[in-house]
Assembly symmetry: C2
Amino acid sequence: MKRIAIDMDEVIADALPKHVSLFNQKYNETITMKDLNGKKLEDLCPDLKEEINRLIADPLFFRDLAVIKDSVNVIKELTEHYQVFITTAAMEFPPSFNAKYEWLKEHFDFLSDLNFVFCGDKSIINADYLIDDNVRHFKQFVGKGILFTSPHNTNETGYTRMNNWKEIRSYFLEE
Amino acid sequence: MKRIAIDMDEVIADALPKHVSLFNQKYNETITMKDLNGKKLEDLCPDLKEEINRLIADPLFFRDLAVIKDSVNVIKELTEHYQVFITTAAMEFPPSFNAKYEWLKEHFDFLSDLNFVFCGDKSIINADYLIDDNVRHFKQFVGKGILFTSPHNTNETGYTRMNNWKEIRSYFLEE
């Protein structure tokens, strides 16, 4: 059985809208998702980079994120044909451990805890595929990187790109 | 640079003596480390298996474990010649996340957070070597398993065995 590793933020957990909304509220800004095309929040407000990261460092930030559309159903279907692991760079924000775990248990309770991985450098992941929104994780990854579209990566080329979970379903289950 | 993945409990963190001592205290037993030769605590008291696991499920159990002799200095030296990752099956005890992370920061602060991995099924680890006391993690591991001696595994054969960190130093840095 081939193995698919799947990132959390921006792939199954909709972190960006909450991040932008918190940022706008706190710093009286009016940044929209359209402004973020090809950019990260800190590219738009480089002077506030630390403050931007601090918003995510809140232990509860990750607990109530919306689930990315269709990810639950498609991943459930994928588990019938593939080994599925959730591989998140939680080590970048250690205070997020518990919230991330509880979020996974709430929304992806059909996956075993033993298939959750909290890591940092994803070159440590042994899988055939890695679905991720950050191309930096593909550079040393042993398998094939699948880029999940997020505003910040729209200009990235050279990777198999998936714009939504319906496309992933089609790629892994129909082709 | 080759990569070594290293388990925590019974390899760098001395969990067993604390576990046995807590168990003896709570259940008025007198189990010694010698009694555990070739056995796990639950093999000696199968009726108390749940209670035994409950002692480890305490979020603070892992916070004040002693460091296994020579592990800090040898790992520090290994990082000059290998990529070193700490790969612990923390997903078996999710309440342990924070204590395990804080313990690593206290004793192995020379390692990057990005090289810490909290997982369950270690077949997800992509490394050349895995130093672990549980042979079950070697079955599907992509690299070479190195068995670190712990009372419960003394009867295991068929693996490269290391009895202490001086032997590991010699294996990886002198041979």
